[in-house]
Amino acid sequence: MVESVQPILTVPAEVGTPKPNPILVVDCLERSFDGLKAVDIDHLEIERGVVTSLIGPNGAGKTTLFNLLSGFEQADKGRWQFDGQPATHTSPDKLARRGMIRTFQLTKSLSKLTVLDNVLLGAPDQQGERLWAAPFQSKWQQQEQANRQRAEELLERFNLTHMCHELAGTLSGGQRKLLEVARALMANPVLIMLDEPMAGVNPALGQSLMRHITQLAFEGVSVVFIEHAMEVVTGLSDWIVVLAQGQVIAEGPPWKVIHDEAVVDAYLGGQQENRQR
């Protein structure tokens, strides 16, 4: 980020502004629950190869937006493109195979699989996952070895090596978060969407996780993550999108967004309320 001026820095901080090289383009996206609009976005572009954070108070529609974009929930209306191809009405697994990998706010670690198996599951294009090849170890042994090596590297990065052969169900909440990120990385994402990756992770590990996230963007992966705490976001992201009541109320680089009046009103007001609770 420091070395070169990124094209994203030339983009004006306006809601719905076009980006030079977007990975995700959303148009007229709507989703209501019981008549209440949970998500209502006119136009939103997410830039490729940078870290974008999605912030907003509770119930702003961040997770719903993730669910819609990744195909886990059906939109009432709207279109969106991923990596230059239409992604509307596409099943979650298809989108994942195209490189859009997400994690979940409530971790979905596979309790009765080992930590290593959890990560291995993330590997794409596995020969051994085909029914016809599965019984013949020779057909997938080599690929499995390579995947295993990569998985072990990832686990080491996230300080999980010692838990490698334990069942994932024995991990702590924070460790599960890390495991889920490791698993997502195993899938070689083009775009990785992390839903509150830092929640419940101890501060030291959280720091290391953040470093990984910026490193990813440096390697060319696009990162979107949902976060609650403004402090976390500002130092980490290249671009911030602020949601409130389902709508994008502001977007721009961190130093601009934190001074935006609408954000201060809607978001920081909400933050304070949260603290008071």
């Binding site: 697994d93 994942a96 990998i101 994690t103 596979l110 009765k112 699989l113 996952e129 090849a133």
Partner: protein, 334 residues
Amino acid sequence: MEFDIIITNAARAAVGPEALILALAAIGLNMHFGYTGLLNFGQVGFMLLGAYGTSVAVATFGWSLWLGVLLGLILATAFAITLGLPTLRLHALLFAIVTIAAAEIVRILVGSTDAIGLTGGPLSISFDAGAFYDLNPYPDGPNDRYGAGTFEFTGQQLWVMTVGWTLVALVSVGVFLLVRSPWGRVLKSIREDQDAARSLGKNVFTYKLQALVIGGLIAGLGGVLDAIKTSGADPNGFRPQVTFFAYAALLLGGLATYIGPVLGAILFWFLRELIESFLRQLVAQTWLPDAIANFFDGAEGIISVGMVGLALILLMLFRPQGIVGSRNEMQLNG
């Protein structure tokens, strides 16, 4: 009380054809529920189609026995696909009730008088399984017996058992090869959390359907063997409780273990026959008051099935992982 007879009777049931048919049904269920988390309560439907496919092909269509076996297996596969395509997206409990209903529908249709011309309807259907017994290598004269005392089989029975247990072994090895592969890993991930599997690019529906077909095919094979063993089929042999017995065997042995369903089926029949034999001996005892003897006389089967129910309850309370399962794994619920 002749305990040696009770024990040999139980041992005889434990290795007999019923146990190996139950083992196949339980192995199939293990594929469905143990590895993939599909709560299939209609396993008996697959067995019925295997048995009736074979019987109808030979008795009604006049095909050869081997074509009949093939038809039975095809029907079981077709049942898995037609059942699975629309219902695999349902919530686990709804899937359970739909499968139990589907198996009942098949049983009622097969057993209706409208189907007499095809399946024999409410009467049983019978056919000539000679092609199978022609291959019997064991001399099967009227005086040929294998074993000792009451643990004794005819040549025909021994042949059915040889073929059957060989198939159980082959199927178990096949399941082992499949489940230890990355394919098996995907199945287990679906059992744990299908949204997680989906988010990593796995086509959950396809894997579930594959598992449903494979497990159904294994149960269908059990049905085929049942038809060959009895040279026919009877709609009353395929009531929902057969599925529950298969669950009992699977849970007794241990969910999601390779050897569990086989051990479970063996133990299931061992215990059932143990109870029945014991009761038969008991009512013959002279010291037993007549009133009690009369009460138990003829009720051996009723009591042993009730004991299956009791065993299921106790198993869930005290050893939900079964004989060979791991306790730690069972405790990681959700």
